[in-house]
Symmetry: C2
Subunit: 228 residues, 2 copies
């Protein structure tokens, strides 16, 4: 293949590849900050505890970004990944639920998630409505439909109690929302064209529990080498 970096329009890309792209992106930011200009699949693999072949395969799905004998140009690789992930733009986000989780997310956001702009914070509780969090004011969830439209919300974070989550999700979907990040411990039922991710801390804790109980054999991603 002619080596001028070419982006390929690919058919099916696996979820795991996309998740790893996200990891690479974060690590590339660190590498870029350190001043390093190129990075090899071996280097990146070592940092992520993956194999170099995996790293190359992940990138090759989208085309040829690297230079044989040299590696990948850090800055360019990073911006290509940003483009693939769709984070070379901003997204308007609304958070539903101004309780502990909702407000903790706001704090988390401050120094992270540059491209995901929180444009709305909603709650049902009259005692919370009107409260300020940074430059956001808690809005009555009754105004969900009008505010989602007005603020051009594209992604919704659900941080309300389990009981209320399905109703909020339904109303968001009816307002045209197609991407939901759910923190409520409940299986939301949504149309197939809505992308839903459920953040599930129980699952992670239970996985830790499982692996402690079955401590003899721990699950390992062995770092792998192409050549020493």
């Amino acid at each position: 293949m002619k080596a001028r970096a070419r982006e390929r329009t690919t058919g099916r890309v696996s979820e795991s590849t996309i998740k790893r792209l996200s990891l690479y992106y974060r690590t590339l930011a660190v590498i870029e900050a350190s001043g390093q200009k190129t990075v090899s699949s071996r280097d990146l693999a070592f940092r992520e505890r993956l194999t170099p072949a995996q790293v190359r395969k992940d990138f090759s799905v989208f085309g040829s970004f690297g230079t044989r004998g040299l590696g990948y140009p850090v800055g360019e690789l990073k911006s290509r990944i940003a483009r693939i992930l769709g984070i070379d733009r901003t997204w308007n986000v609304a958070v539903f639920g101004a309780g502990k989780i909702g407000t903790a997310l706001l704090a988390y956001w401050e120094f992270q998630h540059q491209g995901f702009l929180i444009k709305g914070l909603f709650d049902r509780d009259p005692r919370k409505i009107g409260a300020r969090h940074g430059d956001l004011v808690v809005t009555d969830v009754a105004q969900l439909e009008s505010e989602v439209a007005r603020a051009g919300i594209e992604i919704v974070v659900i941080a309300v109690p389990a009981m209320a989550a399905q109703e909020i999700a339904d109303r968001c979907v009816r307002s045209g929302i197609k991407a939901i990040l759910n923190f409520a411990p409940v299986n939301l039922v949504l149309p197939d064209d809505v992308c839903l991710r459920t953040e599930n801390m129980s699952m992670e804790l239970e996985y830790l529990s499982y692996s402690r109980v079955n401590a003899g054999r721990a699950p390992r991603a062995v770092p792998g080498n192409d050549l020493p």
Copy 2:
């Protein structure tokens, strides 16, 4: 195989099976609360958006729990899963970082995670040390080693800034901790026998972003998340 429910001691169990067990567990609690006494693989599969064969395969890894023609006894299945996951006991947990994320976790915990008991909350900031959160008092992180030992901490949650996370993790590991749930946006480097899970909200948001940009063909999530 003789049909008396028998637990099998299995060799390699996939991570995805364990994650799904966690999902089944949560759903079984809902089913149990509804009074339903048996559940079929078809029923469970429908609720989790999986295939019935997948559900049966997951259970069969650990033995035969069901009754042909009838399904699985809800209560018994639930407690078997609890045993497999190691949540038929309690675990002593410490949280490092009493900032927004750490304290949000505490609130989240209240009505969840019954078996994971928070026995310590630590921070470095003198203004936070001594503050009460429910029946926990923020302890100086200087006492990490002594408190981990005294309270019999087995699982650690890291909710400190990225800068400080590796140091905390190292000290925990030196104190004998073998299971860490990390909320700091950094790749921790730890010995192979320490089980580490990193909760990564960026990854989920970026996945949503990706699937909106590539909206033509909707993404199917993996176990752990939403769809098969």
